[in-house]
């Protein structure tokens, strides 16, 4: 038996009635199974933040430095950016190309349930990587934080899923599969580097630091850094409002794309 067989769902009985929640739960389950059976997506997206954390916080960081804490905060944001852009956004684009989304939209499935299922799947994979990062940080890099900080950090990392997935949705609903993949790659690198997820913004020239102010990754990482006591300026309130504004903007654009094209 290979590892995939273990993932095969056991056979739940088909319910005679279709309560909405049951339908959405089964849809989420199906989406998770799909992702697990696509290792070419799963492995790089999940392993990349962990591999880089190991390298920079465990291997290369000088003893006694704050690196382990700092990049725990920023890589957690990175860990949600990957599944949102590649798993969710580009995934929607390829499902749309294949006609899968179109078929779901004319099926009796409640409108949007398919998107919710894919969103839940992206959130779950984000959670797995973020928790693995936390374990690596606490166990490997010796990061010590108050319990409340751990939970605040986790909340910030998980809330990042919302603006990033809505951004992915805008791309997924507007572009074809290959364009979405290319655009996601560009955005992933651009948003990560310019938002200060790779290296502290203070290492950048002032112009680039200004650019960062306009990026959702910057505000999410600022919130994450504040949670671990390494605030990089600006109040949590302002960063939170900026992140919320991104949710509204990307949400509005995604809604327009969703209603403009029904296929």
């Amino acid at each position: 038996m290979n590892s995939i067989d273990i993932l095969r769902p056991s056979a739940p009985p088909i319910p005679r009635t279709s309560p909405r929640l049951g339908v959405i739960r089964r849809e989420i389950h199906a989406e998770i199974v799909r992702s697990l059976r696509t290792p070419s997506f799963l492995v790089p997206t999940l392993a990349m933040p962990l591999a880089f954390y190991t390298l920079f916080a465990l291997v290369l960081a000088p003893p006694g430095s704050q690196t382990g804490v700092y990049i725990l905060a920023t890589y957690g944001v990175l860990a949600s950016l990957g599944p949102c852009l590649f798993g969710f956004g580009a995934g929607i684009a390829s499902d749309r190309d294949a006609g899968i989304l179109g078929l779901k939209r004319i099926s009796p499935l409640p409108a949007g349930a398919f998107l919710i299922a894919r969103l839940a799947s992206a959130a779950l994979f984000t959670l797995v990587v973020v928790l693995a990062l936390d374990v690596l940080a606490a166990g490997g890099a010796g990061v010590r934080l108050p319990v409340q900080s751990w939970f605040t950090l986790l909340a910030v990392h998980m809330l990042s899923v919302l603006p990033f997935c809505l951004l992915g949705l805008c791309i997924g609903l507007r572009t074809g599969a290959s364009a979405a993949m290319a655009l996601s790659n560009l955005l992933f690198i651009g948003l990560a580097v310019l938002g200060g997820l790779w290296m502290p913004l203070s290492m950048f020239p002032p112009v680039m630091q200004k650019v960062a102010l306009a990026l959702p990754t910057y505000h999410m990482s600022a919130l994450a850094l504040q949670a671990v006591g390494l605030g990089i300026g600006g109040s949590a309130r302002v960063h939170g409002l900026c992140a919320a504004a991104y949710v509204l903007v990307f949400g509005g654009l995604a809604w327009r794309a969703w209603t403009a094209n029904t296929h």
Partner: protein, 299 residues
């Protein structure tokens, strides 16, 4: 209106265009329950456009359209519809059984999963992933999802394209069974044979207009032209006077004759020219027959 007594589909003066190109012009069509209605027409006739309107994937430019008494694409319309699209794929990573279980869960009175899989003859492939199925098996899988919920309206866009003869018969039987159970079945096809074998009613569509709406036998009589090719010493004038002949021409000594009654044409021809040879008879394509029908109606 009581949704279970309303017509499955009611179109009144429906028009639609893609950019400046009209794809449907002033279509009136009522699809009743308990019968198979075939939308027959060549590529570009407007069949898929009509299906997209019925499903709410597009909106008519003018006219009114209801599906199961509701707005096309609304939750009420979707809840009672099962659909097989012409160009839709399914998630490659999920198995046949998982797909059926998922879709059956959308409907309140779905058939048991095993029964659906048997209905389309995919028992041996039940635990194989969609991505590893052959083209014909994938089409049968899509058909299974359309029927699994026992929907009141079954919409099938070219359901038997890419199917081998056995699968086609299996699919026809399943479609027939749904109609006999009271469902409205709307299918599109460009094959006269399919419409003839399956449909109670054929709506002939060309250039976005309804050309004819009749039982298959009557449609066939109007468009089932045949082409006789042979060598004969008869003159053009005498050939065109043979019974059933619509048009005749010759090329390199070989006659090509279009007729509405090949048997009657040939019977007279053989009396007048017993030395007729190199005989071939073929059914004219739907496109040819429709072009002829359009010409006749314009004249």
């Amino acid at each position: 209106m009581n949704p279970s007594s309303s017509p499955a589909i009611e179109a009144r003066g429906v028009s639609h265009r893609y950019g400046r190109v009209p794809s449907l012009s002033d279509v009136d069509l009522t699809i009743e329950r308990g019968a198979v209605t075939a939308l027959l027409g060549p590529n570009g006739a407007g069949k898929t456009t009509f299906v997209n309107l019925v499903l709410g994937r597009d909106r008519p430019g003018s006219g009114s359209l209801t599906t199961l008494g509701a707005l096309p694409g609304s939750a009420a319309a979707r809840a009672g519809s099962g659909v097989m699209l012409q160009s839709a794929s399914l998630a490659a990573q999920l198995t046949v059984r998982e797909h059926v279980r998922l879709f059956a869960g959308y409907y309140p009175s779905a058939l048991p999963v095993g029964e659906v899989i048997a209905l389309v003859g995919l028992e041996k492939e039940a635990d194989r992933r969609y991505g590893s199925l052959s083209g014909g098996q994938q089409r049968r899988m899509q058909f299974a999802l359309a029927v699994c919920g026992q929907p009141a309206l079954l919409v099938l866009d070219e359901p038997t394209v890419a199917l081998d003869a056995d699968s086609r018969r299996l699919t026809w039987a399943a479609i027939r069974a749904r109609a006999d159970a009271g469902a409205a079945v709307l299918l599109t096809t460009h094959l006269l044979e399919e419409a003839e074998a399956l449909a109670d009613r054929v709506v002939l569509l060309a250039g976005g207009r309804i050309l004819a709406d009749a039982p298959p036998r009557a449609i066939k009589a109007r468009i089932a032209e045949q082409r006789i090719t042979c060598r004969s010493t008869l003159s053009l004038e005498r050939i065109t006077q043979l019974p059933g002949v619509i048009a005749a021409s010759s090329h390199e000594g070989r006659w090509s004759v279009r007729t509405s009654h090949a048997e009657r044409t040939l019977a007279s021809w053989l009396v007048r020219d017993p030395n007729l040879r190199d005989l071939e008879i073929a059914r004219a394509s739907l496109e040819e027959a429709l072009a002829q029908l359009l010409q006749r109606e314009a004249a």
